[in-house]
């Protein structure tokens, strides 16, 4: 940490769904201009964390500050003002089916009336070029694109308004390793070019090593380890070690393999 105020400051964040506590007093700082990646298993609340920061899901307790401005309990006008700082790439790209590619990319510009339709289309085509897509893609519909192309269009939409903060939700899920690497490289370049603060969530370790400056691990509703990406292999944390090496055995108990072997009717190997 460089001692300056963090871009996003989270303290004691709590979120419950019915009786299930997903986030249990989470603390996290996202430093300005850096790329922080939160790792953690499926269902540990990584996406919930992003949605709480954006105010899409209301937090049940704690504090989230973006540039010192409180998100928890903020009214619609404040939330909308804060959201203008963000761009987000969703796990499934979340492109609008009813709009052609260029309108998807230019949506933020048109919605905020930052450009007329003609200028917005020109900006969209330039932004598509930055993610390696030609102008011929601009007039296609999202359903006509492959998964990798949809991710690139989603990335173009996220960066088109040149936001201060970029969120990436599982950016490489469902992609082959080569396309995943292309997306990681594009994310890295985009964040660097914009000088943006990036917060990503993933369980793809190749992605972590490529796009992260710092890494935090979410487990049991809290951040249990945080450090520079270079230190992740010598974290000394058994949970982190198990996760980054993808081992079934360890302190993180997803499936009780020993119990499965002993279950009635299960043939011993």
């Amino acid at each position: 940490m460089n001692g300056t105020a963090p871009k996003i400051r989270i303290r004691g964040l709590e979120k419950r769904f019915g009786g299930k506590e997903v986030l249990r007093g989470l603390d996290l700082d996202v430093p300005a201009g850096r790329s922080l990646v939160v790792i953690g298993g499926s269902g540990t609340g990584k996406s919930v964390l992003l949605k709480c920061i954006l105010g899409i899901l209301p937090a049940d307790g704690g504090s989230i500050q973006v540039d010192g401005e409180e998100v928890v309990g903020a009214n619609d006008a404040t939330l909308n003002r804060i959201r203008l700082k963000f761009g987000m790439l969703f796990q499934g790209s979340a492109l609008f089916d009813s709009l052609p590619v260029w309108e998807n990319v230019a949506f933020g510009l048109l919605a905020r009336r930052l450009a007329n339709r003609r200028t917005a289309k020109e900006i969209a085509i330039r932004t598509l070029a930055r993610v390696g897509l030609g102008p011929d893609v601009a007039d296609l519909w999202p359903a006509e694109l492959s998964g990798g192309m949809q991710k690139r269009v989603g990335l173009a939409r996220a960066i088109a308004t040149e936001p201060e903060i970029l969120f990436f939700d599982e950016p490489t899920t469902g992609l082959d390793p080569i396309t995943a690497d292309v997306i990681n490289e594009l994310i890295r370049r985009s964040v660097r070019k914009l000088g943006a603060t990036a917060l990503s969530i993933t369980h793809d370790m190749a992605s972590v090593r490529k796009i992260a400056d710092r890494v935090a691990m979410l487990y049991d509703g809290r951040i249990i380890w945080e450090g520079p990406v270079g230190a992740i292999d010598r974290s000394g944390n058994p949970y982190v070690d198990q996760f980054i090496h993808g081992r079934a055995d360890g302190p993180i108990r997803v499936l009780q393999l020993a119990e499965l072997d002993e279950a009635p009717g299960t043939a011993a190997g």
């Binding site: 949605k51 954006l54 105010g55 899409i56 619609d76 909308n80 959201r83 203008l84 963000f86 761009g87 987000m88 969703f90 796990q91 499934g92 979340a94 492109l95 609008f96 089916d97 009813s98 949506f107 933020g108 919605a111 905020r112 939409r157 969120f167």
Partner: protein, 257 residues
């Protein structure tokens, strides 16, 4: 389980749903009226609801008018009251069958489509994406649909009224021996502006119901494809029941004097 507790729980659940629905409608209307407005969205929905529903509403209306004339003739001829057929057809179409049948057909066509579209947008995170792009989904998605349905249903019903009367006219003149001029005169003589106006008010209310149920069910759908399917079914069923309920209440208000 205690049957009384079961009844109580069902009643509370019903009250909760009605409350959620009322708050959803109020929120959508108040936010929508405050703007910003999205004219492209409103226009797109007006075309979708009005123009593309014309064939189904028109076909329903013409056959309804034809059947009405035929049925009235077979029934009324027993009392030598065939002359009332033009009046029966026009009053039934304008006051009752035009708005109710158009409402039900649009509920099946448009309400289902709205629930499916918004439901898919919900489960694929497109609604969340709208929010992150600082666009209020209630203003961008829900209000244009409500407004377009309220504006277009009365126009559809007006067309349905004319086509329904035409259906009755065709059967009466070609099959039942009415003279064309005589039929038209009898139609106009007993038609009052209140008959048409009441049907148009009903249509606007039915339009609001169809769009509200489509948007509400789609907006709150959960659980992937199955959730979207359930939302679509619920949108059509609940809109149809509410249309018939509202029809009785509006008829009471307009004609119970």
């Amino acid at each position: 389980m205690n049957p009384l507790a079961l009844v109580g729980r069902s009643a509370l659940a019903a009250c909760e749903t009605v409350g959620h629905l009322a708050l959803f409608a109020l929120d959508a209307v108040l936010r929508g009226l405050r703007g910003p407005w999205y004219p492209r969205q409103i226009f797109r929905q007006m075309v979708e609801i009005g123009y593309f529903s014309l064939p189904v509403v028109g076909l329903t209306a013409i056959f309804t008018g034809m059947v009405l004339a035929l049925q009235s003739y077979t029934g009324f001829s027993r009392f030598e009251a065939q002359n009332a057929i033009p009046t029966i057809v026009v009053l039934s179409m304008t006051r009752e069958l035009g708005p109710v049948l158009a409402g039900l057909m649009v509920a099946g066509r448009v309400g289902a489509a709205m629930a499916a579209e918004l439901g898919t947008m919900r489960v694929t995170e497109q609604i969340d994406a709208l929010t992150t792009l600082a666009t209020d989904p209630m203003r961008y998605l829900v209000f244009p649909r409500l407004l377009a349905a309220v504006l277009m249903l009365p126009l559809l019903v007006l067309v349905a009224d004319v086509i329904g009367v035409l259906g009755g006219f065709l059967v009466s003149t070609l099959k039942l021996g009415f003279g064309p001029i005589e039929y038209i005169n009898r139609t106009i003589d007993h038609l009052e502006s209140e008959d048409v106006a009441s049907g148009l008010v009903k249509a606007a209310v039915f339009g609001f119901i169809v769009a509200l149920m489509g948007c509400y069910q789609g907006y709150h759908s959960r659980g992937g494809a199955q959730g979207v399917g359930a939302a679509t079914t619920l949108a059509v069923v609940s809109a149809s029941i509410l249309i018939l309920t509202a029809d009785y209440m509006l008829t009471e208000i307009f004609f119970s004097r």
